[in-house]
Symmetry: C2
Subunit: 256 residues, 2 copies
């Protein structure tokens, strides 16, 4: 699907980027990382002013918007084949780099297209963060994970974009399954519960959760049990691949 | 919130619209009408080629995207204070009027901005259709309701936009309450059930629905009963205003 694209120097991007990209439209990716019961988000730090922001980018004039989001995800994380969810488009008229002098890269001062208003389309992804190799883009000097509750003040409306993404991720748990790329292929019910609790940021009733998630009919209980614990060995489960994929298309009715 | 805007002739719009509006970004509204257990959608018919489309519009350079959606909703329906839900942004690179000659208004042939690629932001609204006075825009000769299952072939990807809006409206029933502007202030459980069944396009289990919706704690059962039926008079309910509004902000866990 993706195409070879020309390499643009920073100067070429600022001065002539609008010849390659749609003006006024951008994408921003909220990349959530999950690992050992922690939820994190991937942030970039700008070279010029050291401020933090979400990884984002522009859309080539002949490129599908979702392809652009996938391209940005891949170039920041190295990951392919990750489920990306479009969650909201941010259309505040004050979304202009020109109005926020602290976010102005020097070289961009004369670049009108870059400094004008952008409507930005937000996507989120949920990835196993130990698989990610964070990589800064051309404007940034750092790309790293932040704990979800320790995110600094970000540029423009990026804190708001992050909040809305987290809200969407949580609502999404009611409508779609989650976990296939975040848990080992065989897992216990307590492990699955912890995944949901971590994303939701709150404790869930264990019995109620088990009853509801089994009723969704996407799990297969295996004959083997997890060994090694002090207590009675818990059952192992795995996702039924076919049913999981169908649920990703048709949606669920979880009612968490 | 809304501002007085200059009146643009059709010619001025085609030739100089990009001076007033953001190029490459538009909004499209999917306006669902509900009345007497029927679900309908509001469509426009273009003057030039008689083809049907969704009501949409452009975004003034200093206008919030949501304000633009509200402005278009108001100008097509006369309605104010309607809940609008942004549901998806459509970013296919082939969304260009220039590539679809049958949708090309004569006067627009020379107007490059109008014929170029547009990323469109979709909103849906659900209105009591007897309150609506449908009004064509400057490109259309008709504005009227279509039964949801008798929608003709629409321009560009508008059938796809409609499908996605309906899907979003249905998923939304799991997460937010509905009905305050669509039912009389006092209603029976069968009337509320029919509203949900009509939107979902399928029958629901009566007892299960009643149990689940009462558990949401947004309804108040009144002392009075509905009179006039042959059977035992059913109880009347109304929405608890404060709880309904809180649920619109915080979301529900319906699990329909």
């Amino acid at each position: 699907m993706s195409k070879k694209r020309p390499f643009l120097t920073e100067r070429e991007l600022f001065e002539n980027g609008h010849k390659y990209f749609l003006p006024h439209v951008s994408i921003d990716n909220v990349i959530f990382g999950f690992h050992e019961n922690e939820l994190k988000v991937l942030l970039l730090q700008w070279k010029e002013n050291k401020r933090w922001c979400l990884p984002g980018g522009f859309i080539y004039r002949d490129e599908d918007v979702e392809e652009a989001a996938i391209r940005v995800l891949k170039s920041r994380t190295g990951l392919d084949n990750i489920y990306l969810q479009q969650f909201y488009t941010f259309g505040d008229p004050h979304r202009e780099r020109g109005k926020h002098s602290t976010t102005k890269p020097k070289a961009a001062k004369a670049a009108s297209w870059f400094m004008e208003r952008f409507v930005t389309i937000g996507y989120w992804a949920l990835v196993e963060f130990s698989k990610v190799v964070p990589k800064p883009d051309e404007f940034s000097e750092a790309c790293s994970w932040s704990d979800i509750d320790k995110v600094p003040e970000l540029i423009l409306d990026h804190n708001n974009i992050l909040d809305k993404a987290l809200q969407s991720l949580r609502l999404n748990l009611n409508d779609y399954p989650v976990g296939k790329d975040l848990l080992p292929p065989k897992f216990t019910m307590p492990e699955l519960l912890r995944l949901y609790e971590t994303i939701l940021g709150k404790a869930l009733d264990r019995r109620n959760f088990q009853k509801k998630i089994l009723a969704l009919d996407i799990l297969e209980r295996l004959e083997e049990r997890k060994l090694g614990g002090a207590h009675k060995a818990p059952f192992l489960y795995r996702f039924d691949q076919r049913k999981y994929e169908r649920a990703m298309k048709q949606g669920l009715k979880f009612g968490l």
